[in-house]
Every structure is written in C-alpha cells, then in structure tokens.
C-alpha cells in the first residue's frame, strides 16, 4: 500500500591525507633505501589498526561494527580505500546518517605500527524528526502523501514512520515501524498499522480496511502476517444484489510468503533479465472469518534484439481456493482488465458480473508479449527522448470461477476457453524509476458478453503492468 521514497545517494568525494614518506618508513624498509621517492603506493603493505566512528549521538556502536568490520581486512592502501568506500555506502544505506566522510591517516600513539593506518568515519546523524511530502502514482490513481519520519528511534537504525495519503481512489493513513537486523541489512522486520478507505474494486463498494501487518524480509523471501478488519458497503443504491450480499464486516488473518527473484537491469524499461515472483497466502488458520488459500505468480522475461529494441514476455496467474465451505469474498478475488493488465478492456471489467457490476474471479491467467523500441527517428536522444518508448503489444487473459469439485483438467479447460485478447501499439513514458504512463491504441478481441471494452485510445498509469 505504501511506497518508500527512494533517496538518491550521490557519492561524496573522499578525503584522505597525502602519504608522504615518513622518516619511520625509511628505518623500517632498509632495502628500499635505494628506491625513488615515487614508490608505488599500491604495493605498500599496510595494517589497519583502528577504525573509528566520530559524531555518534544516539546511534549504538554495536550496530555499526558489522558495517565497518571489513575495513580491517585491507592489506594495501588501495584496498583500504575501496573497503572504506564500501563501508561508507553501507553506513549511508542504514538511513540514519545525513553524511559520512572518510578520513584515512597514519596511526599515531604508543602502539602505532610504522605501516599502520587509522580510518575514521565522520558521520552526521539525521535529525530526530523529519517531514516529507510526495506524490505517488498507483494503478490508474494518484495521491499525495504526507509523512513524518523518526529515523533511528532506539539507536539501531529502527525507523518509525507515519504517513497520510489522500488520493483519487483512496485515503489512508498508517504507522510503520522498521527494524533491520544488525549485521544483515537485507533482513528486516516491519510492523505496519494502517487504515485505508477507498472504492474497490472499481466504484462498486466503499471499503474501510483497518489492518496490522508484520513482515520479515529475508533475501528474496518475505514472510508476512496480516490481520485486516474489512468493512464493505454499497456505494450506490442501484448496486446489484450480488454486490449487496458482500456488504458487512469480515476479519482476515492471513500468513503469506513471497519469493521474489529479480535480475533485470531496471524495473521500468528492462533490457535484459527476468523477474519471478511467487506469492502464497493462507487465511483462516490464525483466526478471522476469511478462510482461503491463495496462490499467484508473476513472471517476466526480457531480451534485447537488434537496433536497441527489447522483446518482453510476461505471464501472470493465480487461484483462490476457499477453505471450509465458506464462499470467497469480493475483497479476496482476482480482477482482470484495464490499462495495466489486459489492455483494451475496461478496468477490472472481464469475467463474472451481475447487472454490470464485476465480481472478480477465483482463478485467472494473463499473458503479454511486448516489443519496445525507441521512438521513431529518436528525437531528444540522450536526454528527454530516452524516457519514451514505443511499444507493440499482444495481451491475453481469462478470469473465471472454479468449481473445486471438478478436477484440474476441467479447470484448465475452463480457463482455456473464451480467452480474451487484444493487440495494439502505443507510447510509454517512464516516471522516475518506479512508474510509467502509457497511451495505447488497442483492439480488443475475444470479447465475451458482459465484458466492458475500451477499444481505441486507452491511457494508463501505474507501477505494475502486464
């Protein structure tokens, strides 16, 4: 629900003292007396004797030990400089320092070795409280986000954030506590308390979700428990009865696991690499009313072709298996269609519907084949023009409800018949490194009765596109 703002980290120039030739060195290295003063410093063995951090206020030192420990292993001067640079990046990555400067000096003091070095990291801690204002782009919606952040609350890079978001489709606020594991920044624990009020799935129901979410991030894997109190209510008096039946309160308590492997070179216009994300969610065994097992996956493969063009293929799919005989809730089902999934169809307007209200489905698949090329004649090359691409696409997908009494063969058959698909071309614009805008001309095909199409020009904005 919330997007972290990504801070750009410009590398600052490193400070280091000139290594002049010291009288001590001359005594130590007798053999080198004959060498010229311009001895190559890379070959000079050094020992890092002390690594200090200055400027700490509330940060606890044990946390930083892990980040800077590798500097001790450096064996020569260039190595020291490299490892110090890496340590500096790691310290900045913690998100608790405004600036980190590195000073490398010869050691002095009683126990100083002649080739000893002292490395000092001079840090400036962030203020206790910072505020922020951003705008955010979601899937065909926009919002403005006000945030208050307390970085480094207890001294070990814990972060407490409060965010308020006001958008075209939903209003939300949330409190988030983030704690990285000392020594292993990729692993972290997040606690999230939120309330989201919005229209879901698409001008159908007014939903209020109040939830608590605890997630633990390991490399590539995320484990999450989420408890959500959902209140659904009809927006319009003329809502269909099937939607009216979904009104009311439910409590969902679900455990989920996500595995995400992404070796693309960029999230928005990847030139190579692949993304695989598999998510499962099990609700009902830790309390709550909702009881189901939900699986979904996302696969994207990219390959560069001639003339700077990229061929990209993606496949999405998922299924929802209600447990214990209770029917699935409209808030848990999958939706298909729209400028961010199967283009050429209205938003979430594919699949089972009742009197014009789309109810979603328990199983779906969607696939896309794209060819991205730079703009014809490459205007603005090297600058603004690089943010644009033309793309030709072929999208297909299907969404339906499954009767779990039938076998898997019947399910596959059901998903394979009445496939909706579309093709077309358009222009894509990249926004930052997260979102993109698309303006496409679409031709929908395989339209079933009840689907709402958007043939012709379709505009889409969002983060995750088929």
């Amino acid at each position: 629900y919330f997007l972290d703002t990504i801070q750009s980290m410009d590398p600052l120039p490193m400070h280091g003292r000139d290594m002049g030739v010291h009288p001590d060195d001359m005594i130590e290295v007798q053999e080198a007396e004959h060498e010229t003063k311009q001895e190559v410093l890379e070959n000079k063995d050094v020992v890092v004797q002390h690594v200090n951090i200055e400027g700490l206020g509330r940060t606890k030192e044990d946390l930083l030990g892990y980040e800077i420990s590798e500097v001790f292993d450096a064996k020569n001067l260039i190595d020291v400089m490299k490892k110090s640079h890496i340590a500096r990046q790691k310290l900045l990555r913690l998100g608790i320092f405004k600036e980190v400067e590195v000073v490398i000096d010869t050691s002095d003091g009683a126990d100083a070795l002649p080739n000893g070095l002292d490395v000092t990291f001079e840090v400036t801690e962030m203020k206790r409280l910072t505020g922020s204002y951003n705008t955010m782009v979601g899937n065909n919606e926009g919002s403005m986000v006000l945030g208050v952040k307390l970085p480094n609350v207890f001294g070990r890079a814990e972060k407490l954030t409060f965010q308020f978001s006001y958008g075209t489709k939903e209003t939300s606020y949330g409190l988030s506590f983030f704690k990285p594991q000392p020594g292993n920044f990729e692993r972290n624990l997040t606690l999230n308390l939120y309330k989201v009020t919005g229209q879901f799935p698409w001008r159908l129901l007014l939903c209020v979700f109040v939830g608590l979410c605890v997630s633990h991030l390991l490399t590539n894997h995320t484990l999450k428990w989420e408890g959500v109190w959902r209140e659904l209510g009809c927006l319009a008096r003329s809502a269909s009865f099937a939607v009216r039946e979904e009104s009311g309160h439910t409590l969902k308590s679900a455990l989920s696991h996500t595995m995400s492997i992404d070796n693309r070179n960029s999230a928005i216009f990847p030139k190579k690499g692949a993304l695989l994300r598999i998510n499962q969610e099990l609700a009902g065994y830790t309390g709550g009313d909702a009881s189901f097992l939900k699986e979904d996956f996302e696969l994207q493969v990219n390959r560069r072709l001639v003339w700077d063009s990229v061929l990209s293929a993606s496949l999405w799919g998922g299924c929802l298996l209600p447990i214990g005989g209770r029917p699935s809730s409209i808030a848990d089902r999958f939706y298909l269609g729209g400028p961010t999934s199967v283009r050429g169809f209205g938003m979430y307007s594919i699949g089972p519907q009742s009197e014009g209200d789309y109810l979603g489905g328990e199983a779906y698949w969607a696939g896309g084949l794209h060819l991205y090329t730079p703009l014809p004649f490459r205007p603005g090359r090297g600058g603004f023009g690089d943010l644009f691409r033309t793309h030709f696409f072929l999208n297909a997908g299907n969404l339906c409800n499954l009767n779990y009494g039938e076998g898997p063969r019947a399910h596959l058959q059901r998903l394979a018949e009445c496939v909706r698909w579309s093709y077309g071309a358009g222009i894509v614009l990249r926004l930052g490194n997260i979102a993109r805008l698309e303006l496409n001309y679409c031709i929908p095909m395989g339209v079933q009765s009840g689907d709402r199409i958007c043939d012709g020009v379709q505009f889409g904005a969002g983060i995750r596109f088929l």
Binding site: G233, E245, S247, G248, D289
Partner: protein, 258 residues
C-alpha cells in the same frame, strides 16, 4: 387490481444472532405479507443489517428491488396493488398511523432500551448474540459499537435517564391504549386485519415468547387478556403452517403461546 408478485425474499439475521427488536420487526413484516397472501421466503444472513439499504432489518428483495422496514414495504406492496387498508376512510387511516407511531415510539424503543441499556441484558444476552457470527476481536468491537450507538440514540430521545421500572410502566401504558382500542373486536379495524395488526402482533408475540432476564415485560402484556387472544388469533390464522416466526424464534420459551 392485483398484479402477481414474484416471491419475496425476506432477509433477517440468523437464529443465534437475532435480538428482540429485530425479531419483532421481522415478524411484523412476515405477518403483513402473509395477510396480503403474498408468498414469502425467509433467508437468514449474518450481514443482513449491512445489506439493507437503510441499515435496518428486515428487508425484502423482490425482482431487482430492495425495500427495508415495514413502512416502505407497505408502500411498495400498495404500489403493486396489494393493500390491507384500502377499506379504511381517512379518519381511520389517520388513527391507524397514530397507533403505529405509538407502537414504534413506545414498544420498539422499550425493546431497544432493554436490550442495550440494561447492563445485565446487554452483557448476558445482547452482546453475545449480536457478535456470534464474528471472530475475536471483531465480535467485541462490533458489539460495543452497536451498544454505544443505541445508547447514544436513547440519550438523544431522552430515554437515557429512565429506569427499567419506568420503561416497563411505559410499555404497560402502551398496551393499555392498544387494549382499549382493540376492545372486543377481532382486529383493530373492523373484521379485516391491517398493517397495524401486523405490527402489534409482531411486537407483542415476540415479547411474549422471548426469554429475557426477567419475565416482567411478558407479564405486563398478559394482564391484558384481549391482546393475548388477539395474538393467538393471528398466530392460528396466518401461521398455522409453520410456527410463528419460526426462523426468527431467537431465544424463546416454547413453540407457541400454549
């Protein structure tokens, strides 16, 4: 001219969940529809209150229309050509409306008061029943939310300061007024039942057949023998095929009044 109506589907809370006031309202609507000779099918949903367009149970779903509460349902059936009060003249109609208002303001409010403002009843009966379809902690939150809402409403209409005895006294006075109007007639107006009869039956019958923390309310009604006979009559005439309000039984003492 009567137009044929497709089967009405009446939505109420499920048996374990329904409370006195909702039970009374539902029974009134059921009685009315049976008096109109309209086929009705009762459906139990735990989220009936939220499905209803006005937030109150019961509501009917006919064709693609959804109508809730007795007043609008009476209007709706009248528009379709079924009416029980066509034979009344203007004076009688005004009188009928006045008595229906009396029942709503007195009996219904008293029921709500006893359910939610009396601590014993609220703790032992109302909150557990109201929250039975939900799991923890949602059940606690919803039950307390409902209680707070009803108490706020009682404050607004000035009932918050009343004691339980005063409420019983008010009910007794209301019953006295109804008893006097009924007299020795079979129904309130001539020999044909009207929506007033359905409404009074719904409330009185539910109170008589529901076990609360104390029997005082039922006793007050039993002291008026013509009201008792009135309830029996309607039960026998219109509910002989099934026990009156069998799906809105709730926590009753026995199958019928006898």
């Amino acid at each position: 001219m009567c137009k044929c109506m497709s089967v009405c589907c009446l939505f109420v809370f499920s048996e374990d969940q329904i409370l006195l006031s909702d039970c009374a309202s539902s029974l009134a609507v059921q009685a009315y529809l049976r008096m109109c000779n309209l086929p009705v099918h009762v459906s139990c949903r735990s989220n009936a209150e939220y499905m209803s367009p006005s937030g109150k149970v019961p509501f009917v779903h006919v064709g693609n229309q959804v109508v809730s509460e007795l007043g609008p349902i009476v209007q709706f059936t009248k528009a379709k050509g079924h009416s029980l009060s066509d034979g009344l003249d203007d004076v009688q109609r005004a009188e009928m409306k006045a008595y229906m208002e009396l029942v709503n303001n007195m009996l219904l409010t008293a029921e709500l008061y006893i359910q939610w403002c009396d601590d014993t009843t609220a703790t032992e009966i109302s909150r557990p029943r109201y929250s039975s379809p939900y799991s923890w902690p949602l059940n606690q939150i919803l039950a307390y939310q409902k209680q707070w809402e009803v108490r706020r409403k009682m404050n607004a209409i000035g009932w918050a300061g009343k004691s339980l005895e005063q409420v019983y006294e008010d009910v007794s006075q209301c019953c006295q007024a109804l008893s006097q109007r009924l007299g020795t007639q079979p129904y309130f107006f001539n020999k044909q039942p009207t929506e007033l009869d359905a409404l009074v039956f719904g409330h009185l019958f539910t109170i008589l057949t529901t076990r609360l923390t104390s029997d005082e309310l039922g006793e007050k009604i039993k002291s008026y023998s013509n009201l008792l006979a009135f309830c029996r009559r309607i039960e026998q005439s219109y509910f002989e095929d099934s026990q009156a309000g069998s799906s809105s039984r709730g926590y009753s003492k026995g199958p019928s009044l006898f």
